[in-house]
Amino acid sequence: MVLKIDMAGDIPIYQQIRNQIVFGIATGRLKVGDHLPTVRQLAGEIGVNPMTVSKAYSLLKEEGMIVMDRRHGAQVNRLRVRENALNADFDQRAVLFISEARMKGVSEEELKTRILHLIGSIYGQEVFS
């Protein structure tokens, strides 16, 4: 899986790493049990401080996306169904996206079609291997 990190963007680098790994797992490009590079390896490749990568991995670990092992490093975790996945925080973020689209003049129909297409592109992928 290829990560594309925008070094001059507004989104912090650790957030970009976290987001792209989440996207990779959701679309099946990273399978359960896949090994991620070590903090040092990835930091060396991107050219950032290891603390930046460590922060991204810590976030992913807290969210249960990856597991950290002393011997095997970081590994993609088995997906767990959470009862409270669609919580108030999720609603807040989704509402923000929808509001932003409306402010830019996107019609309801256009937005529904687009969102359904995006849902299809992610849910259509085989995640478990």
């Binding site: 290829v2 990560l3 590079p37 990835l42």
Partner: protein, 459 residues
């Protein structure tokens, strides 16, 4: 001595020319630091410019080599060290101007043909490639072994105290220090960022593995060359009586390092060509901002203090965009100016030998000394000095002064004009130094000085 200076100058000019010529090779989508796609690099205008650059480099080399003969003119010969530094600076400036001029020409061709590449500041990393990092390189055991072996001359010196007279043990530790630098180079080359060809992990992995292999082999070979150079240098220091022979290990080092750099470049280019072969259309490349300012690497956004030189495998340079890099760079610059200043001052300042009531004072750049009358054991004159080595002093084309170790004399203080074949030998009662050897600018001056010292001793 002048012949030695000429050889050193030709060597320096040769390195500069080779460095410039390696820089013109198409590698990592760049020629002379200007981004060009593979197809655009084959454009007739680009090819013509590169050929013209090659010819100009050779012209600068020939012109610089020819200018060295100016050192044979007696008037310039008197200031040989200063003239030598001036020639080196002029050669560096000429090469720098030539590179700058041809970079402008390449940019102009790009603008004329409207060749633009994307300018986004995105870094692409393949997670599978990152995970494989370091697994295809030559083992680091070799470079550590070479480091260990570089201590052999120092260990040999420990058991040969006589050799320490002409070759101080402190000097024998310079080799391990340089060897340690090659260990550092090995790790930096091995861990440098992998390049991503496309979205296919297999292709990216193949490129990274092969490139890592090539880079680690060249780093290991460089470390081996450094070790062989160090052994040859030690042998020439201890056994060679002819100063010119000391140049031979240096020639070996430079030729071997340039050979390795060229091999590395060719292998990497062939690998790129093989992997890109058959891929449809123009490869997606990014316009890279020039991170070179005044001949130095300058990128405040790059967290690295030490970065590879423009030609990989040729060593490392400092990122002057970082505060630590600035400090290091200006520290080195200060040191260089101090050495240049010392060489210029030492080369121009004449010795002043003042004989007073009960002491003889010798005033020379940084190596002043005073001899009390009761310290002197004997006084004599000789017209030839035996071979020896400088342990801590100045050895120029016209003058030699400071601490020397001469065969048959042992530790001496020298304040002599090399082209005057008459020397006053003042033997001291002590052993360190055992002798003070002086002379004047002419034989007449030397004779007058001898008479003056004789009178002073007999008072």
């Amino acid at each position: 001595m002048i012949l030695l200076f000429l050889v050193i100058l030709w060597l320096v000019f040769g390195i500069m020319a080779a460095y410039s010529l390696l820089y013109r090779q198409y590698r990592d989508h760049q020629i002379l630091g200007i981004t060009l796609s593979g197809i655009h690099a084959q454009h007739s205008g680009i090819k013509k410019t590169v050929s013209s650059f090659t010819r100009t480099c050779y012209a600068v080399l020939l012109l610089s080599a020819g200018c060295c003969f100016l050192l044979l003119i007696p008037l310039i010969r008197n200031y040989a060290e200063f003239a030598m530094l001036l020639l080196i600076i002029m050669n560096l400036l000429a090469n720098w101007l030539v590179i700058g001029y041809y970079q402008k020409k390449l940019r102009h061709i790009k603008e004329e043909n409207n060749w633009t590449y994307s300018r986004d500041n995105t870094i692409t990393v393949d997670l599978n490639v990152a995970r494989e990092k370091g697994k295809s390189s030559i083992s680091s055991v070799w470079v550590w072994l070479f480091l260990l072996l570089s201590f052999v001359p120092a260990a040999v010196l420990l058991f040969h105290s006589e050799t320490q007279q002409i070759y101080p043990i402190g000097l024998s530790l310079i080799g391990p220090f340089c060897q340690l630098f090659s260990v550092f180079l090995y790790y930096r080359i091995r861990n440098q960022r992998s390049r991503i060809l496309n979205g296919e992990t297999e292709d990216n992995l193949l490129l990274t593995r092969q490139e890592e292999r090539i880079n680690s082999i060249s780093a290991t070979l460089s470390a081996l060359v450094m070790l062989v150079f160090w052994f040859l240098f030690n042998l020439s220091m201890v056994h060679a009586q002819n100063g010119l022979l000391i140049i031979a290990p240096m020639i070996f080092l430079i030729v071997a390092l340039l050979g390795i750099a060229r091999w590395q470049q060719n292998k990497t280019r062939n690998l790129e060509e093989t992997l890109l072969d058959g891929q449809p259309g123009e490869e997606k490349i990014q316009e890279r901002q020039s991170t070179w300012k005044w001949g130095c690497y300058y990128d405040p956004n790059d967290p690295r203090v030490f970065v590879p030189k423009r030609i990989a495998g040729m060593g490392w340079t400092v990122n002057i965009g970082r505060p630590a890099g600035k400090l290091f760079y200006f520290g080195i610059l200060l040191l260089v100016f101090f050495i240049l200043g010392f060489v210029a001052y030492g080369g121009m300042k004449d010795y002043q030998i003042i004989v007073q009531e009960h002491e003889m004072r010798i005033d020379a750049a940084m190596y002043d000394m005073t001899v009390e009358r009761d310290q002197v054991a004997s006084l004599s004159v000789t017209d030839q000095l035996p071979n020896g080595t400088r342990t801590n002093g100045y050895g120029g084309a016209n003058k030699s002064f400071g601490h020397f170790s001469l065969n048959g004399y042992g530790k001496c203080m020298l304040y002599v004009y090399n082209n005057v074949d008459q020397y006053i030998v003042v033997q001291l009662k002590e052993k360190d130094p055992g002798y003070v050897i002086i002379n004047g600018k002419t034989i007449e001056e030397t004779e007058a000085l001898y008479q003056e010292i004789s009178r002073w001793l007999s008072e």
